[in-house]
Symmetry: C2
Subunit: 103 residues, 2 copies
């Protein structure tokens, strides 16, 4: 199934991070193949930072790691959901979710 993932032209796939108990969406992040493999191996989320162009282990400095509970792929194989047990706020602002503003 992992071999069937369709990465975009930059080698990335969008990943919806969802709290596994409440289903609250915490963030939308991006992964490349290496970060997905590290996520699966370590059972903690590792993203690709598009602003810094580097792997980014979630919680590496903040301690707010995310333990992987479940990974799902969509029908087009070009988006993922990872359900996590979040050990602290997902957002750098200190909010639980990055989606804290209404339009």
């Amino acid at each position: 199934m992992i071999d069937e993932i369709k990465y975009n032209s930059e080698g990335l796939i969008p990943v919806i991070i969802q709290e596994y108990k409440t289903n609250e969406v915490l963030m939308l992040a991006w992964m490349n193949q290496e970060s997905l493999e590290k996520t699966i191996k370590t059972k903690q989320t590792v993203f690709w930072s598009r602003s810094r162009n580097t792997l980014w282990k979630k919680g590496e400095t903040s301690g707010n790691i995310q333990i992987v509970k479940e990974i799902k792929i969509d029908c087009d194989r070009d988006a993922l959901i990872i359900k996590v047990d979040a050990k602290g706020p997902a957002c750098h602002t200190g909010e639980d979710s990055c989606f804290f503003k209404n339009i």
Copy 2:
């Protein structure tokens, strides 16, 4: 707030569609400014189809429209959540959610 949205280099923003009662994620779709404006105006989701390069009113042929309940934007202003009342399956396969496969 809408004026502050950061579209990507193709003029698109990823949109997480979430069922407003259960918080189940139904799909990850894409919008350009026009489709977002139509979504807000009509209170039904209108996406940008990247495969067909055209606006795509959800449910136009299937009848499975999505009534907009809430729109949220993330801290980076480059991703949206739209919570909807889904009048039928979100996925073209007939599944409620496009994320029906586990990895």
